[in-house]
């Protein structure tokens, strides 16, 4: 069995699911940042998408 340290060192971190955060799930918590991102991406040419093998 892996040690706590090994678990904590994982690249995919251990995340505790907190039901109290479900209320934020569909909210836009940072509307100004989303607006800026949409503006920055409006005419942007994205790199080619890679897909799982």
């Amino acid at each position: 069995m892996r040690t706590v340290q090994e678990l904590n060192d994982n690249k995919v971190p251990i995340v505790r699911i907190d039901p109290s955060l479900e209320q934020d799930r569909d909210k836009v918590l940072f509307p100004d940042k989303l607006a800026k991102a949409n503006e920055m991406l409006k005419n942007a040419k994205l790199p080619n998408r890679k897909r799982p093998n």
């Binding site: 955060l21 918590l29 940072f30 940042k33 949409n38 005419n43 790199p47």
Partner: protein, 148 residues
Amino acid sequence: MTIDKYPLKAESSLTVFEFVSEGDNGLIRKLIQFQETNQLSVSNLAFGDKNSETGEIDNLIVSNNGDTEKVLATVVAALYAFFDKHPDVFVYATGSTKARTRLYRIGITRFYDEMVRDFDLYGQLGDEFYEFEVGKEYTGYLAQRKFN
């Protein structure tokens, strides 16, 4: 990632994360959200402070809590968790100010060696994205998970 980071809490879709920064100015609640943008399958990474008393979110505040590296490591950890659940999505990040955009560059540069093994990283100049180069300034950043 072996650099110290804060424990993360999230809702079940792993798009909203919360952690508590502990530093010179005490305990500060931080929120990270991966927001759907107008571009198909492109999520915007946003984070800021949550006022514990009012619940209000401030994305411009500079906490100066003396733990920037640990906070950045935690944001990168959330990125790994998000990609684990949403592998096909591009993640975009740009700062609300030039200083914040610079902070993203510092974060990517700090964790570049590890991130580039797992992600394709791009920097935005105008409407184009280029392979990320350490030391170069960009107006936005994009990450895509590698699959091999």
